[in-house]
């Protein structure tokens, strides 16, 4: 058992949920997503983000549009599709259950 492995497993599950939450608030540019997550103390490499976004996009959860930028090539801004919205809803429900459970269990109170 190694600690890093377990940590990365824990993070992996919630990564998509977090990314979707950021995008749900409005069209988002990948590096902005990274910044926002960093600000929330959840560090993520851009190199990890791009493949995730592409996979979500290919699964019809996300869509994007090109926006001209004055600092370089046009940027891809991502937004949620209705399917993504539904997916997000389910993730949120699961997360709430999990968070509740974890909270209850870690607060050392007996459930019974």
């Amino acid at each position: 058992m190694n600690i890093e492995n377990t940590q990365s497993q824990m993070r992996k599950g919630i990564l998509e949920f977090c990314i979707l939450s950021v995008i749900r608030r409005g069209e988002a540019y990948p590096s902005d997503i990274v910044e926002e997550m960093k600000a929330a103390n959840l560090n993520i490499l851009e190199g990890t983000l791009y493949p995730l976004l592409t996979r979500l996009k290919n699964a019809d959860m996300l869509t994007y549009r090109w926006v001209e930028s004055n600092s370089g090539p046009p940027r891809k801004y991502f937004s949620l599709t209705p399917k993504g919205e539904a997916f997000y809803g389910e993730l949120q429900a699961t997360w709430n259950e999990l968070a509740n459970a974890v909270h209850t269990l870690t607060n050392n109170k007996s459930v019974l």
């Binding site: 990948p30 190199g47 990890t48 493949p51 592409t54 290919n58 600092s71 370089g72 090539p73």
Partner: protein, 749 residues
């Protein structure tokens, strides 16, 4: 001091230090490998590159003169190296094995040398494969260049055939996995040291040999060719030996050079030049690798044992869903787990198709090599068929585009796959395809033009004056060895053999023996010989002209009629399926014998209207349908060296062979009088031909040989009732046969 280059990066011109550019390139290619099995690979990489371009632009906007190593490294650090990525499917080692869990962290090690060394095992390479990844896995295991392993496998496959089997076994047995690609070495063309395109020096750099060796190999046929041609011109003595080298082999090398020229990228950048030389691979390094692996072999063997057990269980399970797994090999989605039965079938299936493709390639190459050898003879033949500039032009275009192009394309493809070279442009394939289609088109047009030259058919009749033979018998035979072009060189070059209608070929003419001898009843009491010369042509007039030019001199010496061996046509005449029909009219009661030498004639008919060629070899051709203006009658059904007599209804045997001896069986018949005999035949003429067969079989004097004719023996039996005298012999035999087989008797009656 650093060199700065301008690159076009996502449609921006970026000034960048050359070393920084190298770092960037390596990073991008490491991403490419990491996402090799990812569906949206190109998009992901394009997104990341886009981000790089944006960050570069920002740096430049801030006033930097160019992008430096540090800039690139900073961006890479924030982007993350592939081994730091966390994703849904960070490739994990196979969970079934305990050894696999030693692999550190997420993501494969790839080429970053500082990654912890894991115990190596033999896998099929998932990420570096041409067929099943066996060679890639072996190369990774042995720390060799995959190209070398592949070349060795190809060699032992063609050498002993064992390579193919070994490959199949390994393919089925080994599990797949992404393996580290350790070859940092590729075939390039060397831009620094070139004579023509740098192929030879690139090969030399790759194999670490002196550059003169590959150069000499490529140049040798050329040099030898020049030398031999000089010798030929000086001494007029043809040197046969090295024509192999200068012909087929030299041609192959030439094509190889051209293909390598097209296939291999030129080593331009510093890293490419390093890649070209690569790591030193020699026997010592292989030995070391094997040695270190042997030390851990014991433990692995045990492991292997348990794992094999597991796998057999898997096979058992998967046998149940065999059909499902058969499709699994095709669909990469389920491929991960399919190691069993269906997998093996899939592998065999795939291998079979590749095998067929290989055979086709081999056949094409052989055909080309044969053409290279026999080229001059084929050129001779070409002159007889083709006419005018356009047809020749089309023929050459069709030859190169339709036949040579696929060979070059296939070789290109093979070399590319073997060496793992990937080019950036797809235009080469399109170019090949387009050229081939043009070639196809040319062949079709050419075929049409040639066919139109055979459209019309005309005949010219010529009466040969005949002196009536004194003994009432005419013997027809052909001249021996006339008109034969006696140059052994041409004979060895173009001998179709006995069954060929092209008897021999000469410098500017060749002998055609599409001749048929036909016997019919004379209208009066004299022998007549008529020649019917036939030819095809683009129009009736031209066909008639060509037919008129056929020279077929018939000589007569009392009873012996001598036909030429064939007729020559010159390249000026062209080959238009010229034919000669010799019609011998025999008056009733007179005899005729056609010598065996006549059977050397070969008759065949090109008929563009029916879109196929009638070509009958041997004796059968005398019975072939005569579909056009010359009417067909029964009289071709003669056998050579048998004497016939003309009856009012057709030919009949006299029972004499060519020496005038009677057949034994005929004596038993008591048919001494030939007049009697043909009268009898006249009563049942349609049976006459069938009755011949038993007579012939009797010659060797074996009764056993008779039996097989039993089931078809209805005809003799029928004759039996109407004409007991003539077929006495036949019925005797029939009865002897029928008795032990009562069933057959029922059949026959």
């Amino acid at each position: 001091m650093k060199k700065i280059i301008n690159i076009n990066f996502h449609s921006r011109v970026i000034p960048i230090e050359e070393s920084a550019y190298e770092i960037l390139q390596q990073y991008i290619s490491s991403l490419r490998r990491y996402f090799a099995n990812e569906e949206g690979r190109d998009e992901i990489i394009s997104d990341i590159e886009n981000r790089f371009a944006e960050l570069f632009s920002e740096t430049l906007k801030k006033g930097a003169a160019c992008i430096t190593d540090d800039d690139v490294n900073t961006i890479i650090a924030s982007m993350g190296r592939p081994e730091e990525f966390e994703g849904e499917e960070a490739p994990q080692p196979e969970t079934t094995t305990a050894a696999g869990s030693q692999q550190a962290g997420a993501g494969p090690n790839w080429q970053y040398g500082n990654a912890p060394e894991e115990p190596r095992r033999l896998y099929r390479a998932d990420n570096d494969k041409i067929l099943g990844g066996v060679c890639g896995g072996l190369a990774s295991y042995l720390r060799l260049d995959p190209a070398i392993v592949r070349i060795i496998f190809v060699l032992i496959t063609f050498g002993w055939g064992a390579g193919f089997l070994l490959y199949l076994i390994l393919w089925i047995v080994l599990p797949t996995r992404s393996v580290p690609v350790n070859a940092r070495k590729r075939l390039y063309r060397n831009s620094n040291d070139r004579v023509i395109a740098g192929v030879a020096s690139g090969l030399a750099a790759y194999f670490h040999i002196d550059v003169w060796i590959p150069r000499l190999v490529f140049a040798l046929p050329l040099i030898l060719g020049i030398v031999t041609s000089i010798i030929n011109h000086i001494t007029w003595w043809h040197w046969y030996g090295p024509s192999f080298v200068t012909g087929g082999f030299g041609g192959t090398l030439f094509i190889t050079y051209i293909v390598l020229w097209i296939v291999l990228p030129e080593a331009v950048t510093a890293s490419e030049k390093l890649e070209m030389r690569g790591e030193k691979v020699d026997l010592e390094s292989i030995k070391n690798t094997v040695k270190s692996d042997l030390e851990t072999f014991k433990g692995r063997a045990r492991e292997m044992g348990t794992e094999m057990g597991e796998r057999f269980q898997q096979v058992g399970q998967q046998l149940k869903q065999g059909t499902q797994n058969f499709a699994a090999e095709a669909g990469p989605v389920i491929r991960k787990g399919s190691n069993g039965f269906g997998h093996a079938i899939g592998v065999l299936f795939k291998a079979f198709f590749l095998f067929i493709a290989g055979i086709i390639t081999f056949a094409l190459i052989t055909a080309l090599a044969a053409m290279a050898f026999r080229g001059d003879s084929l050129l001779h033949l070409k002159g007889y068929v083709l006419e005018g500039f356009w047809q020749n032009f089309l023929a050459w275009t069709a030859f190169f585009l339709f036949l040579v192009i696929p060979v070059i394309a296939l070789l290109t493809w093979l070399i590319r796959r073997i060496t793992g070279v990937r080019t950036r442009n797809h235009y080469l394939g399109y170019t090949f395809a387009t050229l081939w289609v043009i070639g196809l088109f040319c062949s079709i047009v050419l075929g049409g033009m040639i066919m139109s030259n055979f459209r019309a058919r005309q005949h010219v009749e010529e009466n040969v004056p005949v002196v009536q033979p004194s003994h009432g018998k005419m013997i027809v035979h052909t001249m021996e060895n006339t008109n034969r072009f006696d140059d052994t060189d041409f004979w060895s070059d173009f001998d179709f053999g006995r069954n060929s209608p092209f008897y021999s070929i000469a410098e500017d003419s060749f002998l055609l023996n599409t001749v048929r001898v036909q016997v019919r009843k004379s209208d009066d009491t004299a022998y007549h010989v008529q020649l019917i010369k036939l030819s095809r042509g683009s129009s009736a007039t031209r066909a008639r002209e060509t037919a008129n030019r056929i020279e077929f001199p018939v000589k007569q010496n009392d009873s012996v009629l001598t036909l030429p061996q064939g007729f020559t046509i010159s390249s000026g005449d062209k080959f238009r399926n010229q034919q000669v029909l010799v019609e011998v009219a025999v008056p009733v009661g007179k005899r005729i014998l056609i010598s065996r030498s006549v059977e050397n004639y070969r008759w065949f008919t090109v008929n563009p209207n029916n879109r196929h060629i009638h070509w009958r070899g041997g004796r059968d051709n005398w019975r072939s349908e005569w579909d056009e203006d010359i009417d067909d009658n029964d009289s071709y059904s003669w056998s050579s060296n048998v004497e016939y007599v003309m009856t009012p209804t057709g030919l009949s045997r006299t029972g004499m062979d060519k020496n005038g001896y009677r057949f034994k069986g005929k004596k038993d018949n008591g048919n001494d009088n030939e007049e009697d005999m043909y009268k009898e035949r006249a009563e049942k003429p349609e049976k006459a031909e069938k009755a011949e067969k038993p007579e012939k079989a009797e010659k060797p004097g074996s009764n056993d040989g008779y039996r097989y004719k039993g089931p078809g023996g209805t005809a003799p039996k029928a004759t039996d009732t109407t004409n007991p005298k003539k077929t006495a012999l036949v019925t005797e035999k029939e009865e002897a046969m029928i008795q032990p087989y009562p069933l057959l008797a029922i059949f026959n009656s």
